[in-house]
């Protein structure tokens, strides 16, 4: 890598890739366990999209880094401390309602971010983002519609998604926190994280209101994922995801 700008871009691409890889892996855990067949298929489809997006972002990260690491090397041969995803996406799935609330909080942010990135000055990044944006549009439609159904559903479904919303809310601060990487890229390559917050709040609060749920108050916010400080859950997830590649490096079938 040539300079601090390139290093920042590499870090930023890892963030984009890792968020989607980890969330995609979490969603894939639902495969065969969905509450109904259609949702089993839906969650697996969304997982596939996210892992595909991660592949493209990590591939680009490897090219920017210039050390010969491809997307598989980055996915399978980094430990938790080197992962750059936000903590929200590594949290266990919980019940279907909790999975959906986590997904909606992420999707509503991701679609806004990708919309900005597809118009960024970095051509390759913009191209990958433009494709991912189309997918994020139907992801947020899917998760948002489920928040409406469950929130404005039965007493039981309402209680469960409200609890999930309350418990996951302290993990949303990381979506908008900025550091040196963001400051180096702000403007030309990536939007300032905080610039997305008003639009995200508008989308989230609108759906929460229509779902007859209550938006939690802002309090303590977790942080650290962008710098490798993760919850204990990520290590377990990576162990499962990486065991095959690490046990049989270069395996093909």
């Amino acid at each position: 890598m040539r300079d601090s700008q390139e290093e920042a871009l590499f870090e930023y691409l890892l963030r984009l890739g890792d968020d989607r890889l980890v969330l995609g892996h979490r969603l894939s855990e639902w495969c065969g366990h969905g509450p109904i067949l259609e949702e089993d298929i839906a969650l697996a489809n969304v997982a596939l999209d996210l892992i595909g997006q991660a592949t493209h972002f990590l591939q680009l990260a490897g090219q920017v880094e210039g050390q010969g690491r491809d997307e598989d090397a980055l996915a399978y041969f980094r430990d938790a401390i080197d992962y750059r995803n936000i903590n929200l996406v590594e949290l266990p799935n919980g019940d279907f309602g909790r999975t959906i609330v986590r997904q909606f909080l992420f999707d509503a942010w991701s679609v806004l971010l990708l919309d900005r990135l597809q118009r960024a000055a970095h051509t390759r990044l913009a191209g990958v983002a433009a494709k991912a944006y189309k997918e994020a549009r139907y992801h947020v439609r899917h998760s948002g519609e489920w928040v409406l159904r469950l929130g404005d559903g039965t007493d039981e479904s309402h209680r469960r998604v409200q609890t999930a919303l309350d418990e996951l809310w302290p993990y949303t601060g990381e979506l908008f926190a900025a550091d040196e990487v963001d400051r180096l890229l702000a403007g030309a390559v990536a939007p300032e994280p905080a610039a997305l917050e008003p639009a995200w709040r508008e989308v989230v609060s609108d759906v929460v209101r229509r779902a007859t749920l209550t938006l939690p108050a802002d309090g303590y916010m977790h942080s650290g994922g962008r710098h490798g400080r993760h919850t204990e859950h990520l290590g377990h997830l990576l162990a499962e995801m990486q065991i095959l590649a690490r046990s049989h490096p270069g395996a093909k079938w």
Partner: protein, 169 residues
């Protein structure tokens, strides 16, 4: 849309038209819009540009292998494949003839891709895809996700058949 550089391009495209999409074999990979550019270089190598339909399309690797194999079988020994992302693939690239093939195959063809204003629209605003079997519009979308990334699941209340729709994107 698809640029054809050089007089050999038509012959190369003809070779690639012989490759059906692995997941929707009613269409070939050229009419699906996956092949963006084919060029015979002065040094004899064939340069092919492809674009994925969806980020996680699991058929992409198979398609790339089949492109190389088909060109090799037609005497083009050196093939250079490149993946391009821009412009992003859209179902608007499907011709009317391709859409008719989908319908005949039992998959409702995609409508024009439109970007709705609301990120989470009202549930009642979902489009009713015409049934590919009886053409009734008395249908209901059951899920925006189907057996492959590119399809949604619908149900026809007129002929009581479930059917798939090629999603507009």
């Amino acid at each position: 849309m698809v640029s054809r550089a050089g007089a050999e391009a038509d012959a190369l495209f003809e070779v690639l038209r012989g490759i059906p999409d692995p997941e929707v074999p009613a269409l070939d990979i050229v009419e699906l819009g996956i092949v963006r550019r084919v060029e015979l270089r002065p040094d004899g190598a064939v340069a092919v540009e492809v674009t994925p339909t969806y980020s996680g399309c699991p058929a992409m690797h198979v398609i790339e292998q089949e492109i190389v194999a088909a060109l090799n079988a037609n005497g083009y020994d050196r093939v250079e494949l490149r993946t391009v992302y821009s412009p992003a693939w859209t179902t608007d690239w499907l011709s009317d003839a391709a859409k008719a093939k989908l319908k005949a195959y039992g998959i409702a063809p995609p409508d024009h891709a439109v970007v709705e204003q609301a990120l989470v629209p009202l549930l009642s605003s979902v489009r009713r895809a015409p049934c590919p079997y009886c053409s009734s519009s008395n249908t209901e979308r059951k899920s925006e996700f189907g057996s492959t990334a590119c399809k949604a699941i619908h149900y026809c209340h007129h002929c009581h058949q479930p059917f798939e729709e090629f999603k507009a994107i």
